[in-house]
């Protein structure tokens, strides 16, 4: 025994799950969606993802260096934000705009609020909203097989074109953002996240089920005329429900809170899709519910040991 003993209070063991392993698992879970986007939209999809990921990581590094704070890019959270941002833009999106989006996500949405764990809204989604407001044209120009097209939800809203088949929606052969194109790839990613216990199923399941049911009930042509199944496969619902709404930082911490949160996301998504001007409502629904999260966490508590129903 050459050195002094290490002393700390218990516990002296750890589950070996760290912020970094969690982020790595999320990145792994995104691989199928990334592969699908490369398959359907070409190599440019990968380049675009590399650009957003690099700009997010670089923005975090520079910010923390300039402020003399410990550099935390090794925890992987900036990379996750970067990849998620790419998943939320069209395949033709200009690289320089993508860089602006990455910097906005990290500096304005994340670091201005204190960094990982302190941000109020999801950085990638807030950046997407920012890009949509700044360059609505670039953010809504969709292509499939090099031909410009409209998204399924856009066609539902505006008409004009034949709708893609349900099978095309599921596999991903449709216009849309990089990540939302293939429901199949996203579900594979979700399976990984569940298996690795990175996320629990409440949010994706409740969010998707609520949206499916409500779009059917409210219906675009009147009550009970909606095609719930088509609605949930179209647009960014699976991407949002699996990867964005489940963001730890901006979603509630209790199971009951998460169910409430996911239900709220489903309601707002449906209202925007059916009654709003935007064809898609997933991003805004999640951003709005992000803002409700602190309130949910304050009011929705776990059942304490020994409590029967409501607390005394």
């Amino acid at each position: 025994m050459n050195e002094k003993l290490i002393v700390s209070t218990s516990p002296h063991v750890h589950a070996n799950v760290t912020v970094r392993t969690v982020m790595v698992d999320v990145l792994i879970a995104l691989l199928p969606a990334l592969a699908a986007s490369a398959y359907f939209f070409g190599v440019r999809a990968l380049l675009l993802t590399a650009v957003t990921a690099a700009s997010c990581a670089a923005a975090e590094y520079l910010w923390q260096r300039l402020l003399g704070k410990p550099v935390t890019i090794s925890d992987g959270s900036a990379l996750v934000t970067g990849v998620l941002l790419a998943m939320n833009v069209p395949p033709t999106f200009p690289f320089w705009m993508a860089v602006v989006g990455g910097v906005f996500a990290i500096i304005v949405v994340k670091q201005f609020f204190g960094g990982l764990g302190k941000n109020v809204v999801n950085p990638a989604l807030a950046a997407r909203a920012f890009l949509l407001a700044s360059w609505p044209g670039a953010m809504t120009s969709w292509t499939v097989d090099g031909v410009s097209t409209a998204t399924a939800l856009g066609i539902l809203k505006e008409g004009g074109q034949a709708l893609p088949s349900l099978m095309d929606l599921f596999v991903g052969h449709v216009g849309g953002c990089l990540g939302e194109t293939s429901v199949l790839a996203l579900v594979i990613g979700a399976g990984w996240l569940f298996w690795r216990r990175v996320i629990t199923p409440e949010i994706p399941v409740v969010y998707i089920a609520t949206t499916g049911l409500l779009t059917w009930i409210l219906g675009r042509e009147g009550f009970f005329t909606g095609n719930g199944l088509y609605e949930i496969f179209a647009g960014g619902l699976f991407l949002g429900a699996i990867f964005m709404a489940t963001d730890y930082v901006t979603s509630p911490m209790t199971v009951k809170g998460r169910i409430l949160f996911a239900f709220g996301c489903g309601v707002i998504t449906t209202l925007i899709r059916v009654y709003g001007n935007y064809p898609e409502g997933v991003s805004f629904a999640i951003l709005i519910m992000n803002l409700v999260t602190p309130l949910i966490d304050r009011k929705v508590k776990p059942l304490r040991f020994g409590e029967v129903s409501s607390r005394g």
Binding site: E3, H12, A15, L116, V249
Partner: protein, 439 residues
């Protein structure tokens, strides 16, 4: 009957395979033994011996002040009292009787009681009290006091705690396997004290040998005791969680188990009740698991109380590699030692050595709000919030949010991806809040 699983909990890596097949070996305590005067909940004992005095194994060397909560302390070896002085003990320093062991193991004559089954409740309790028995699971609460609950809370279920949910520790498992008959006889004493109660042993289902040994021992003496195998989940051995698993009853916040008609005793405690009452042998030794990846020859030892930790490590083959942490107890709730010349006391269930390479040295990061601490908290608390309140020193809010219900099991810190010092801060805040309350 179905068993229920409490909500929450974690699955820490077992580490039990290192010692679960190692039979209990008597340990030679070496030359110097140290008996701290405070090794139970209650008032410190007053020494009954003087420097230079010759003493025998089993001799009473200290007893609690008249009328105060506490239990007696007996010497575990024969020899000479070297001094009565401040000595390093687990968690600090304390006045201790230091004994030079003469190695002869000369014993006082123990008063065997062949007709122990016929003793009255009162005499059983007084023998247990005089024999220095405390809860050996680690709480160290005087057993005779625990066995004498207020008359307005009748006990209908007595539970023997054999869960041993702490990773690495196997001492209770070995006691149940090797001394099941003693444990069974101990339950007869519990039957005398609580004639109308049902008696259940609760243990985790990963101990099939213990289950078999106990079932056999109960059948052999015709004791009506149920052996209940419970799911493996930490902290299954926590009193409130065990009661819930066995009876489905929840002990209300701030209340004792007797509030729901239950009483829990560790299996080793019950065995020592029998040794004390039937054989007249006070608590002098205890079974300790000396284990960990940093120990050359892990094993279970019957250790005379007062033996120095350094001696245990020596007997267990010494360190393997560079020791990082030496822990008294298990990895979830044990105390890291600053030095090795501290003695084994009544509450020491294990000595765990982690090599330096395995020792946690991760810095704390910001909470990422993943919710895992809430998911695993067996008390249904929100550790992340309590941690924030503890850091803000907002003790009123800490108490309002249930902070005092924390059983300090460490599941939250174990599972936190940001390595936050959750239970650590809660423990501290509980103490401060309790001290403020007393003011």
């Amino acid at each position: 009957m179905k068993h229920r699983l409490f909500r929450g909990g974690v699955h820490p890596e077992g580490g039990k395979e290192l010692t679960k097949d190692k039979p209990i070996v008597p340990l030679d305590p070496g030359g110097t033994l140290v008996f701290p005067l405070s090794q139970h909940i209650g008032a410190p004992c007053l020494p009954l011996v003087e420097k230079g005095q010759e003493i025998l194994r089993g001799q009473l060397i200290a007893s609690p002040p008249e009328g105060r909560l506490g239990v007696a302390i007996h010497s575990s070896v024969s020899g000479k009292v070297k001094s009565i002085e401040m000595r390093p003990v687990v968690g600090g320093r304390g006045v201790s009787v230091v004994v030079e062991n003469d190695g002869l193991a000369r014993e006082v004559s123990f008063e065997e009681r062949p007709r122990w089954r016929e003793l009255s409740r009162e005499s059983i309790l007084s023998i247990i009290s005089e024999s220095g028995i405390v809860g050996l699971g680690g709480a160290c609460f005087p057993t005779s006091v625990k066995l004498n609950p207020p008359p307005d809370s009748p006990i209908d279920t007595v539970i023997l705690n054999g869960a041993e949910c702490e990773p690495y520790l196997t001492c209770d498992d070995r006691i149940m396997q090797e001394h099941a008959d003693d444990v069974a006889c101990g339950t007869e004493l519990l039957r005398r004290i609580f004639p109308d109660a049902r008696i259940v042993v609760g243990l985790e289902e990963n101990k099939p040998e213990a289950i078999e040994a106990l079932s056999g021992a109960f059948a052999a003496i015709g004791a009506d005791v149920e052996v209940r195998a419970l799911p493996v989940m930490y902290p299954q051995g926590s009193e409130k969680q065990l009661i819930f698993a066995v009876t489905g009853r929840s002990v209300p916040s701030g209340k004792l188990p007797c509030a729901v008609g239950c009483l829990v005793q560790n299996v080793a405690t019950v065995r020592n009740m029998y040794l004390a009452v039937a054989q007249g042998r006070p608590l002098m030794d205890r079974v300790i698991t000396v284990t960990g990846e940093g120990i050359a020859e892990p094993g279970n030892f019957l250790v005379p109380l007062g033996t120095l930790v350094s001696r245990l490590i020596e007997v267990a083959g010494g360190f393997k590699g560079d020791p990082g942490k030496v822990i008294a107890g298990g990895p979830m709730m044990g105390f890291a030692l600053t030095r090795l010349d501290v003695p084994v006391v009544k509450g020491t269930s294990g000595i765990l050595v982690q090599p330096r390479s395995m020792t946690l040295v991760e810095p704390e990061r910001d909470c990422i709000r993943c919710g895992r601490c809430i998911e695993v908290c067996p008390m249904g608390l929100e550790p992340y919030r309590l941690n924030r309140l503890a850091l803000l020193e907002d003790y009123d809010a800490f108490v309002d949010e249930g902070g005092m219900d924390c059983i300090e099991c460490g599941s939250c810190s174990y599972t936190c991806p940001s390595m936050r010092y959750l239970v650590q801060s809660l423990r501290e805040a509980k103490r401060t809040a309790a001290a403020r309350r007393r003011k």
